[in-house]
Symmetry: C2
Amino acid sequence: MYPKSVSSLIECFKDLPGIGEKSAERLAFAMLGFDKDRLTTFATAISDVRDKIRRCSVCNNISETAVCPICGNSNRKKDTIFVVEKPKDVALFERLGVYNGLYHVLDGLISPLEGINPDDINIKSLLDRVKNNDVSEIILALKPSIEGETTMQYIKKILENEKVKVSKIATGVPIGTDIEYIDTMTLEMALEERKDIS
Amino acid sequence: MYPKSVSSLIECFKDLPGIGEKSAERLAFAMLGFDKDRLTTFATAISDVRDKIRRCSVCNNISETAVCPICGNSNRKKDTIFVVEKPKDVALFERLGVYNGLYHVLDGLISPLEGINPDDINIKSLLDRVKNNDVSEIILALKPSIEGETTMQYIKKILENEKVKVSKIATGVPIGTDIEYIDTMTLEMALEERKDIS
């Protein structure tokens, strides 16, 4: 129906999450309206990601260098490791600008149901980092789901013989949200983790 | 925040219609999860579109050849030209499989408000095609909007001295749609263009 190169591009777009047949067509046709320079820029951006992006050998975050800029930054506190699920989460917390320690990217969460075991995610290297460095606190920032909680419990357990504090970010009602729209599990957690008003 | 090549890719995605900051990030990160082959395929698809896609010298549809497969198909009726706004519309009608004539892609509609004049779209070559070929009918399949109607009226006018029938596809209530949800203008058109039940 479409010229072969256009069909191929549509197929590529369909590979992306949340992009169905119609959206893929819409995006491919939008690109047909781009001038040659913009198409070159787009193709180059993809090739660059393919050729330049690797994982930081320390924290496993995406990086263009063997050690990422955060791990390589001498101004950051080396004694705190913030454990997240995905590289994107690092950017999220960096944008907040309130944390000045290091990160550790797990690349997934333990999920027995989906057959994801501790060995399938980047947990062992966290233990190595704690053993080989002077780490005083591990902050777990995983999502409050069964998988997230399981992973946090597992990490807590493998670190129990190490001299390191393990904390997790608070679960509760998000600011500005009407309580009636919060699920019961979150409300229970918020109640359980209630704090004295000082 | 992100490595440079990832930021560049996010910017490229933001260039696409309907893709905002968040979606662009989501798509770029999804691509980070692709293996190198899939990234190569995607980059190549874009380069191919850039290098191979041109416009058919007859009908102005997108094509990888100087004359598109439809115009070059000797089994198609050469005496009917179906006029559409965009290359995508050709694929839409081809998929229906009920039309066996030729097409003409305008690449836009006349819109005095947006400063789009008849000279800005591919209308003159339609007149040339009618003058130089044995065309018996022009079917206008432009959207029923002010711009569409203006364009159809204009084409009707420039063809009034040619021996060619000019028709347009019907405006009316889409099949399966409850009449109460149809806008008044469509209803008026549907009433005006009512047909005897035979």
